[in-house]
């Protein structure tokens, strides 16, 4: 019994203290993985914030964006041109979704809109594969992918660049939300649909804008994840990795998605590396959720979620 307690509570900590460089590597690895989760979570947050839709199809949008990009590159287009065209495709998709799915369902309950995005999910799954094929494709947009050593720690350049890109993206989005006219309109819609409508904010435009921005974020996420695994169907499953991040950070908060990503990333890596071996490993999937759950029990609306004020 004592030895068990020792193994659980003392051993891993001693291990960490004994090999600080490795601990550093684990933490940095967690931070960078967390940024990658955040990239996916951001897409969810944008849409939820402005339209109250929990977009189940976000993962497939990432896949679809990456497939389009890599498909265009394979057809001989330059990387830049392909990026621009992919962006155009994602914006066109946003228009289509607003017109066909969202507009007829305006003012419906959250769960109904959620279900509609599931329909969208199936549709895009089939459509993306039909157009671009189901085979795995190598995505190379010229990002470095070797590792280098720093202070005894091995750091992967690809992940590092993903981290930087995610950080830049968040800054841009924050400025977009806080400083631009359309950003203010977005926040107004997020606060209250009807009030926003009554002062003349065009709801339809706003929805097209958020879905477009979410589509663009999906391109970035698709590039970063696609560089790791190649572009293939499984990209759509990364949405599952983003869920605990989203829940921990709060559905409405852009910074929450980032901080949540970092906490989940570091938490699950440290958990898996130091405590995983005690129970046979592969714990990170549920560990992330348990971690999110622990935070939720203290703050039920997520770390940065808006406080829920209830009236009777």
């Amino acid at each position: 019994m004592i030895s068990l307690l020792y193994q659980v509570f003392v051993g891993p900590l001693k291990d960490m203290a004994g090999h600080p460089a490795f601990l550093g590597e684990v933490v940095i690895g967690g931070v960078l993985a967390g940024m990658l989760y955040s990239l996916v979570a951001l897409g969810f947050v944008l849409i939820f914030k402005a339209s109250g839709v929990f977009n189940f199809a976000q993962g497939v949008m990432v896949l679809f964006a990456a497939l389009t990009l890599v498909g265009l590159i394979e057809r001989g287009l330059g990387v830049l041109l392909a990026l621009v065209l992919t962006a155009v495709v994602m914006i066109a998709l946003a228009f289509g979704i607003e017109r066909i799915v969202l507009r007829p369902l305006v003012n419906q309950e959250h769960i109904i809109l959620f279900m509609a995005t599931i329909g969208l999910n199936f549709f895009l799954e089939g459509f993306g594969e039909m157009v671009w094929g189901a085979n795995v494709k190598k995505l190379d947009v010229g990002l470095p992918d070797k590792s280098f050593m720093a202070a005894g720690m091995q750091i992967n350049q690809l992940e590092l660049s993903a981290g930087v890109i995610a950080a830049v993206l968040v800054v841009i989005l924050a400025i977009f939300f806080q400083k631009t006219r359309i950003g203010r309109a977005l926040r107004a819609v997020a606060d209250d649909h009807e009030a926003a409508l009554s002062i003349g904010i065009p709801l339809k435009t706003i929805w097209v804008v958020v879905w477009s921005v979410a589509g663009l974020v999906a391109i970035v996420a698709g590039i970063m994840w696609g560089a790791k695994s190649g572009v293939q169907f499984s990209l759509s499953l990364i949405a599952l990795k983003a869920l605990p991040v989203l829940i921990l950070g709060g559905f409405e908060s852009v910074p929450g998605a980032i901080v949540g990503g970092l906490i989940i990333g570091v938490g699950e890596k440290v958990g898996e590396v130091y405590w995983g071996p005690l129970v046979g490993g592969a714990i990170e999937n549920w560990f992330a959720y348990v971690l999110a759950l622990a935070f939720l029990l203290i703050r039920p609306q997520g770390l940065f979620g808006e406080k829920i004020i209830e009236r009777v």
Binding site: L105, E125, G126, L240, Q301, V312
Partner: protein
């Protein structure tokens, strides 16, 4: 014209509060149940039973379970697959440890075990709500699957890591195992669904169901009028998981025959949730309709090109199938956001007035 309730007077409260107050409804339901027991066992071939009807019944049972929790008590759950896995693995452990135990008892006991697990994972619902609650149940989903995958005791240390439904008989008829005939398994699954649908229908009409709906509609208000959230929510989790547990046990014993944890992964949780939403939240009938939609439509879409002699490459056909399926979901939601059950209800209202709508 036929569906006319004029002249049917209720002279007692009991008569007024019956599940099916209209005579025609009672007749139709009774006929449907009898037909469901008789027709497929006589006329359906193995493909229909094994690939369509049996999974439909099992999914319907799970969907009723989730509907009690999500549709009636308002607690969003994505742990259905995990709770079904609890049922399946409990049933496997029970029936291999106590081979003399009647299979029905095994199923019920696995339901009880799933209910206990459900209560544990339902505890966070006292503090967390809405989409956030999904995380608590997702934690259950991932943890339970990991556990069954990791701990070899659950599979009786099988070298294959899978659980296999043992051969069990009831009243001299083989009910589970490789030699069990499809019609037998169908009848068992149907009997369970019929009984538990009736139980569910009565639950939601009674005190328990009303307190669930009170919590769903406004939990603070419900608390003020004396509904205890702790008891009510946990009861919802327990009963819902009980249903899911039995469905899980049936999933292995009556449908698949053997399973690995992958059969109960997150995809299954989503699938059952889709059924509940498409069918109609807060409707027992909707659970059936939703299960039928999710099970039948893809199979229908797969078989149609064959039936009309159109031979497409399988990949293309699957992709078109996914697109049409997705499109149909959106279409039905736009036509009637409150699910197929609501469509049914509208149809019934129309039928009442037909052929003189004014």
């Amino acid at each position: 014209m036929i569906y006319r309730e004029a002249g049917q007077f209720k002279t007692s409260y009991a008569g007024d509060q019956a599940i099916f107050p209209i005579v025609q409804d009672r007749v139709v339901v009774a006929l449907a149940v009898v037909a469901a027991f008789v027709l497929p066992t006589r006329f359906a071939d193995e493909y229909w039973l094994q690939a369509i009807l049996i999974p439909f019944l099992i999914y319907a049972l799970a969907a009723i379970g989730l509907n009690l929790l999500t549709g009636y008590a308002g607690q969003l759950s994505l742990g259905t697959g995990g709770f079904m896995a609890v049922g399946a693995y409990s049933a496997f452990k029970l029936s291999t440890a106590f081979p003399w135990l009647n299979i029905v008892v095994v199923f019920l006991l696995s339901g009880v075990i799933a209910a206990l697990v459900g209560v544990v994972f339902g505890l966070p619902s006292l503090r967390i709500k809405g989409f956030y609650l999904a995380v608590a149940t997702l934690a259950a989903q991932f943890f339970l699957i990991w556990l069954f995958n990791k701990v070899a005791w659950f599979t009786n240390y099988a070298s294959s890591g899978t659980i296999t439904a043992p051969t069990r008989t009831m009243l001299g008829i083989t009910v589970s195992g490789p030699t069990a005939a499809a019609p037998t398994r169908y009848v068992v699954a149907l009997a369970f669904v019929a009984v538990f649908a009736l139980v569910a229908k009565n639950l939601v009409r009674g005190r328990v169901g009303r307190s669930w709906m009170a919590i769903r509609d406004r939990d603070i208000a419900a608390e003020i009028i004396g509904v205890r959230p702790l008891k009510t929510k946990l009861l919802a989790f327990a009963i819902s998981s009980f249903y899911c547990g039995i469905a899980g046990a049936e999933f292995v014993f009556l449908y698949l025959g053997s399973a690995e944890t992958l059969a109960f992964d997150i995809g299954l949780s989503f699938l059952v949730l889709f059924m509940v939403i498409i069918g109609g939240l807060g409707s027992v009938l909707g659970s059936f309709l939703g299960a039928a939609f999710i099970v039948l439509v893809p199979i229908f879409l797969t078989n149609t090109p064959h039936a009309v002699g159109l031979l497409l490459p399988v990949a293309l056909q699957k992709q078109i199938e996914l697109m049409v399926f997705g499109g149909l979901i959106i279409f039905f939601l736009i036509v009637e956001p409150h699910g197929l059950a609501r469509l049914w209800q509208i149809g019934k209202e129309k039928l009442r007035l037909w052929p003189f709508p004014h």
